[in-house]
Structure formats: C-alpha cells, structure tokens
C-alpha cells in the first residue's frame, strides 16, 4: 500500500496557510536564500539530480529545460509560470495557489536565479477571482519582505478565458498582447520565447516543487516515486466517488489505492471509465485500476499521466454523451489557426451529435476514426491531438455502446441517474 506523502500540501490545513507569516513559520524563503548563495549552474544540477519532471502534462525533466537556456548571451531571460489551469478535470494548481501562493513565488526566485532571469511572469487563468487576490497579495507581501525587488521581479498576468493559452507558445503570444495562438516550433521558447528572448515556461506545480527540493536535497526527492518518475505529486480525484479531493502521493500510486482512500466509487455503483490526466488523455476502464500512475506506467497502458486529473464515471454515465461534451469543448476552444483542428473538431461534433441522438449509422464510427487520424499529428499544437483522445479510446472500449444508440434510436441512458442529486430534487 502506497502511503500518502504531503509535501506541497503539508500545511494547507492551517487557517492562515496562504499568508507570508504562515509560510515563513514553516521555513519559507529559506530555500531561496540557500539557492541565491549557490552558483546558478549548481542549482540547475540539483534540480536535474532530483529527477523532477514537468507537472503540466508533458513530463519533461525540469532541470534539463532550465539547462537549455543559453548562458552568458547578454540577453534578457524570462521565467513564465503556466497557471492557466483549464484542462477538463484538472484542479490542482488552483487549490494550491489558494492555500499557499508563497511556495510558487519562492520557486520563481530560485528558478530565476538558476536561469539568470530578472523577470518572472505568472500567467493565471482569469476565471478564479479569489485565487488572483491571493497570488497578488502574496507578491505584494514578498516585495514588502524584501524577497522580491532585489534583482528579481514577479508580475501576475491574468488571462481572460481561453483554454488554448495553456499551450506554452499560445500563452507567450497572449502575454505579449496578441490573440492566444500557438507558434511554430522551432525555435523553442528556450531560444526565442517571450519577446523572442530565452524563456522557460513551467507549470505551477513544477515550480512549487522546487523550494522543498533545494531545502531537502535531490536525494530526498529521489527517494520518493518510481525509477524514472521521482517525487510526490497531486492527484485530483473527482466524479462518481464517495469522497473526491486532492491526494498528494509518490508517483506510481494506483487508482485502486486512491479509490480505497476516497471511500470507493459512489455507493451502489461501479467504475465504468476514467481519465488518468484530464480529457486529453485516452480513457481508461476498470481494467486499468492497477496501472502505476507514473509517466511510464500510464504511457505503457496506452494513455498519458497528463495532469493526474482522475475523473471517475460510473455505469450510469453514457460514454457517448461524455465524449460529445468534451468534443464540443475542443471545438469551442480551437483557436482557428490550423485547418485540421478548426474544421476537424467542427465535424467531430456534428457526427457525435448524430450518434448520441441515434440518427447516425455504423459508418459514422469509421468516419470519426478517419477524422481523428487526420487531426492527430497534423495539427499545429496538442489541442487537436487531445481532441481525438476521448473519441478513439471510447470507440476502442465501448463500441457496443455507440451501436446501442443506433439500435435504440437515441441515448439509452437516463441522465438523471448520473447526477449527484438523483432522486432528490432533479
């Protein structure tokens, strides 16, 4: 049985956990003082040695990303924190920033020192007013305390409702004051990022993990997790379970273990399908309860660890309805820059609507897969790829349920039964 290991979440239960007083009480800003006294290359090496990998979905080694920034080039360097948490099912950075914004600011100081940047930008989604307040206040307090403003500045930049800005190059365009549309790579942000300057873009949880690594050492961090997936991370459990919530555990815990902790799937029901890392990661079923939730384990089982957003759906849920809704989301959020995604997601919605309403034909399933094949790998960015994941995986595991919509002349499920208040006041 894997034991939970709260590091990021260790003090969230204290009422004032978001204040600079609480953060300092638990040793806050000592790691940045230690890092600032180190050679920047030694900081990068320490983060490399820790094995920390990006927590925003791709899992790229954080220290290696920092190491790509050219040194001694006399150019301005930038750190950009991606706090545009919008992937359906993903809900880890938002509670982290609400409960402890200072850990991110301290992480920014350490990362800026390592990559020789004077400026960090935190790009936060705009639909979380109170989290914006907390981060803004934390920045103000960090300036007052002298942690910021002595060579390192942090600016909070608030988005305005566009999922695509979670894609790192679209985020950079948005931060430069343009419509948020992805850029062609290469050049990668490490060479030409914000204002065409060397830039590191990291997820909130990645940067927030750095202070504890500096404080406790690379070996301590390496001691947690699996062979190639080190450390602890936030798993976010939601949906048809008795007790949804955040579980910080070493990488490699399984859904079966997390469900045990959460009191299981909602009483009287059974697991039907789930996402390991948000809606852009191929669906899993009850066959995958024992897959180690680390980068390699989930990938070997045919999906992606993504953002560790475990969305649980029980047998009352129509998979066609679920996939249609995600597809409508991708269509709405497609930025329109490239044809496969812009046109493809539009057609996917039309066909899925017909299937859900029982007016499609079996040939539509082949058409869906053909469209997915033409979007996957041919889109400008990962949004298009992500849009195909729920479709191809649901057809793989639930082809019969798609066909049942056709023989039934419509959806065979009662949507009331899948609501939490089924039989109460629906």
């Amino acid at each position: 049985m894997t034991k939970l290991a709260p590091v990021l979440s260790a003090h969230w239960d204290e009422k004032d956990s978001f204040t600079i007083e609480a953060y300092t009480r638990h040793g806050g800003y000592k790691a940045s003082a230690k890092a600032l006294a180190m050679d920047p290359d030694a900081v990068i090496q320490l983060v490399k040695d820790s094995g920390l990998r990006g927590r925003g979905g791709a899992g790229f080694p954080t220290g290696m990303k920092w190491g790509f920034i050219p040194q001694g080039d006399e150019k301005d360097h930038y750190l950009v924190v991606n706090a545009d948490e919008s992937e359906p099912g993903t809900c880890k950075d938002t509670p982290l920033l609400m409960a402890n914004p200072h850990v991110l600011i301290e992480g920014c100081i350490i990362a800026c020192h390592a990559i020789r940047a004077k400026h960090a930008f935190i790009y936060i989604r705009g639909e979380v007013t109170h989290v914006v307040r907390r981060v803004n206040q934390a920045i103000e307090d960090a300036y007052k305390a002298g942690h910021l403003g002595k060579g390192i500045d942090v600016v909070l930049h608030v988005g305005a409702g566009a999922y695509i800005c979670g894609e790192e190059t679209a985020l950079l365009d948005s931060l430069e004051g343009f419509r948020g549309q992805p850029r062609l790579r290469p050049p990668f942000p490490a060479i030409a990022g914000l204002y065409a300057r060397p830039t590191v873009v990291n997820n909130v949880e990645s940067i927030a993990s750095v202070p504890a690594i500096i404080a406790n050492g690379a070996e301590w961090y390496q001691g947690m997790g699996t062979e190639k997936s080190k450390g602890t991370t936030l798993y976010s459990l939601s949906g048809h379970v008795n007790n949804p919530g955040q579980f910080e555990a070493p990488l490699g815990i399984t859904l079966r273990e997390i469900l045990d902790l959460a009191g299981g799937v909602r009483t009287g029901h059974k697991l039907k399908f789930w996402t390991p890392g948000g809606s852009s990661t191929p669906l899993f079923t009850d066959e995958h309860l024992d897959v180690p939730l680390d980068y390699e384990g989930v990938s070997a089982a045919g999906s992606m660890l993504g953002t560790k957003a475990l969305q649980i759906f029980d047998e009352t849920t129509c998979v066609v309805r679920a996939v249609l809704r995600w597809t409508e989301f991708y269509k709405h959020e497609s930025c329109g820059k490239c044809t496969p995604c812009r046109e493809g997601t539009w057609w996917l919605v039309q066909i899925l609507r017909d299937l859900e309403n029982g007016v499609g034909t079996e040939a539509d399933l082949a058409k869906l897969l053909d469209l997915c094949d033409n979007i996957m790998g041919r889109s400008f960015c990962a949004l298009g790829d992500g849009a195909t994941s729920p479709i191809t995986s649901s057809i793989k595991y639930f082809r019969g349920e798609y066909l049942a919509h056709l023989t039934n002349g419509g959806c065979p499920f009662d949507p009331v039964k899948s609501t939490l208040f089924s039989g109460v006041n629906a």
């Binding site: 993903t90 809900c91 509670p95 305005a160 007790n243 579980f247 809704r325 208040f421």
Partner: protein
C-alpha cells in the same frame, strides 16, 4: 464616457509593469470592463491610443477571449459548468433549471439587470462538482435548489457568499478590477482550503 485622471494613472501603472507596453492589453481590457461593466468602444479606442495600436488590433484581442464582454452583463454574472464531469453530475440540470427560473437563455440578462447566465467550461474545481461560478467566485457542490436560491438572493440584492472566496460576493465590476490586478484588500477573507482540498492531507495524518 470620459475617463478620470485617476483612472488614466491606474492604466499608466499597468503599462509600466511590462518590459513592452503591448503586454498590458489584457489587464487594460479587464480594467475598462471594470469601469463600464463591459468592453466599450470608448475603452478599445483608449487602449489603442495608450499602446499606439490600431483599434482593430485591440478589438481582435478583446473578441478572442470569452471573459471580455462586448455588451452589458448582470451585476452578478453566473456561470454554470457544463463541461463533461459537472454536466453529468448535475450541471446540465442546474443550467436548464436556471434558464427556466430566470427566463433567460445562454448569455441572457434578467430585465432588472441583476443576473446574467452563461454555461462555462471546466473551472478547475472538479472535486467540488457540480460547480457554479458568480463573478468568477466559487459556489461549490451545487444542486438545482441551491442554485435557484443563489440567483434569488442576487435578485434581492443580498447575494449569498461564495463557498471558497471572500466573505461577501463583490459585483461584476469590482471583480473585473481584481482581475485587472487591483488589490481590493479581500485576499485574507474566506477559507484557505475546502474539505476536498484537505482530504488527502487529513488521511495522511491518520497514518494513511
């Protein structure tokens, strides 16, 4: 509508936050929205002038992002999450009930101007589903009757407080100012974390 010298000074300070002025376009749009309640043509013209851009360049940005409104919304703008997980768990039923209860469609505003309604995408609170937002503050674990009570309280002018947010709900204009980066002094109010956020930590303290 003319902007006051104080407002122009606030906008100038926003531009100075960035190494390049154009980056200030998003906070400036949030700010003009906080003054008029939506992004007016006057607001776009002013931002274009301040940043030495064409108005078309500012409009292009304003219309790309769904949080910038080009027409007035209610004093309390209500968003019901109807992305898959919330929809399945009750968001669809809540959204249908609110449309009926308020007599408005998606993006509609009640005749008294108090409440507007929109279906929204995932708002990063899935462990609190079904989720309703008002002026982008969290109202967690909603059902049809609690959501109706919420909008009724708004129409009476005494909105219920958010479940994870400040002690009382601020108006749409006030929330837009916060998103523009203005500190309203309320960061210390409200919970640090809700129950689901703390679930794993609490179990760990029990030795799990």
């Amino acid at each position: 509508m003319a902007y006051t010298p104080e407002q122009l000074q606030v906008m100038d300070s926003m531009i100075k936050r960035y190494p390049r002025s154009r980056s200030a376009i998003m906070p400036l749009l949030h700010y003009v929205q906080s003054i008029a309640g939506y992004v007016t043509n006057e607001g776009i013209e002013l931002i274009a002038k301040l940043l030495t851009l064409e108005t078309a360049e500012v409009s292009a940005v304003a219309t790309f992002y769904t949080q910038y409104k080009r027409k007035p919304v209610g004093e309390y703008h209500v968003g019901v999450c109807t992305n898959t997980l919330c929809a399945v768990m009750g968001g669809d039923a809540i959204f249908a009930a609110l449309k009926d209860h308020l007599g408005v469609e998606n993006d509609g505003v009640t005749a008294d101007g108090k409440v507007s309604l929109e279906h929204i995408e995932c708002n990063a609170a899935c462990d609190y589903a079904p989720v309703v937002m008002a002026n982008w503050e969290f109202y967690d674990n909603q059902d049809v009757s609690s959501a109706k009570e919420l909008v009724d309280s708004m129409r009476k002018g005494t909105p219920k407080p958010p479940t994870r947010g400040p002690n009382s709900l601020v108006t749409w204009k006030e929330a837009s100012a916060v998103l523009a980066g203005i500190n309203d002094g309320k960061a210390g109010e409200g919970l640090q974390a809700g129950g689901p956020t703390l679930l794993g930590l609490n179990l760990s303290k029990e030795g799990k």
